[in-house]
Assembly symmetry: C2
Homo-oligomer: 273 residues x 2
């Protein structure tokens, strides 16, 4: 089984892929679109894609690209906690004067350093992998912020674990493939739709169907329909499987009031890593 | 009156600002945050900010920054059509072999060139302003893609107007300031809210109040609450003024079921330029 992820090795997508399928052959790719196309064309059995982050919000490129899929479905999900470690060639945190990482990682640990090590200079660089390499070359005064994989694979020691300021920074990944997943009893379904014409309460009439069946929505997002301002595609995730009687009833009823219903797939609710 | 916009001169924000207030003193700034802070601190009376685009979607940095405002309100809006022109120092389109612009502008005119002038080479550069300068220096074989302002201010001639592939590519701008705007009869109100706890139908219960009063929602967006995955802030724009009896009733009723209601302001529905 081949699983495509957004490279390079050691990236967050790589970590998520390793948790999802430790024994799959992982194929690093350059863009989200490349991953989706490879799955659509059958060159890969599965692909893993970040879909939302608890601080940044929706990964809009992935959402827009999903709308264009023809044969692939969402088969699963998992949530990855963003974890940063302080890594160095040396073992003494007192010796560290310079900390290197990707600007986003530095930003996510800013408070940790302000409170605990205000004398350390934070230096932005291209990626956390690059940061590890530089920290290794420069020696004991230097540290990198990266995940544990990057540390281990660069021969660095972990001086401090989980130094990110927001312990709830999480990224949700979806797994796409061509299999239809059977109900497990704890499932989620992802759909998208737009309206022919907007009228007062058009979205309300859809949500009403879910509310009356007490189906919980776990996510609702809008994206531009790219026709004109004020026209949107709505993305909804709800608890339940499309083969459950109640869900099936709702999907049948809402289909009559909307332009086009796209069911991305039903899949087991993912766990948090 | 001083109106802050995202510079440089000639940018889309600049063009929008010129339409909104031709006689205001325009102050070019470097970031959206800088504009909002200057309005909050009273250093500028008004600021203009892009809030959504018909192809790209929400301008999330602006939406997140608006949540943190304390004294400023949304006072107005306007919609700007994205228009690209082909500009050159020469007058003959047949002489053009190279076309320069910002990568996004080139992308937005790709089909125009593929169909009409497939022999022209598209060259990405830093900004459309830079493209105009280079096209001017290099001579008659070179053209730039930019808006009419940039052309006029660089001494270039317009060889072809409105060459963008999608004629409905529009950006919506809001104007922030400290004035409360009185009802005009054709108004819009922008609000945001989150929920204490999610339960089946929590969003539905809010939309129900609007639907029952036949108040049309013109936009609904969700952004992460940045606490944990699955917690969202909802942004809603609806037709009507917060001082209208029906709107006031709805706002009072929904306030009881949500965590915190933030009313960004009521303002006249903007026109399209």
């Amino acid at each position: 089984m081949k699983l495509g992820y957004l490279g390079p090795e050691g990236s967050y997508s790589y970590t998520a892929a390793k948790y999802y399928a430790p024994n799959h052959m992982l194929v690093g790719m350059k863009t989200f679109k490349e991953i989706i196309t490879a799955v659509e064309e059958g060159k890969l059995e599965e692909g893993i894609l970040p879909i939302e982050n608890s601080t940044e919000g929706a990964v809009t490129q992935v959402m827009d690209a999903l709308m264009k899929t023809e044969t692939s479905k969402i088969q699963g999900e998992l949530i990855l906690r963003v974890r940063h470690n302080l890594l160095s060639i040396g073992e003494a945190i007192e010796e560290i004067n310079y900390v290197l990482s990707h600007p986003q990682a530095l930003e996510q640990c800013r408070e940790f350093f302000a409170v605990n090590y205000p004398h350390m200079t934070l230096i932005p660089c291209e990626s956390s992998s690059t940061a590890c390499q530089i920290a290794k070359e420069k020696g004991r005064q230097y540290a990198a912020i990266a995940n544990s994989w990057a540390g281990e694979n660069n021969g660095l020691k972990t001086l401090c674990k989980d130094i990110q300021d927001n312990v709830n920074n999480q990224t949700r990944f979806i797994i796409i493939g061509k299999e239809s997943i059977l109900p497990t009893g704890k499932d989620k379904t992802s759909i998208a739709f737009s309206f022919h014409d907007d009228y007062p309460g058009s979205l309300y009439s859809i949500l009403k169907e879910f509310a009356e069946e007490k189906i919980n929505l776990t996510r609702i997002e809008s994206r531009p329909a790219k026709i004109e301002l004020g026209k949107y595609i709505f993305y909804i995730d709800f608890q339940g499987h499309q083969k459950d009687t109640r869900c099936q009833g709702v999907l049948n009823r809402i289909e009559k009031n909307i332009n086009k219903l796209k069911v991305f797939g039903s899949y087991p609710i993912g766990r948090i890593y």
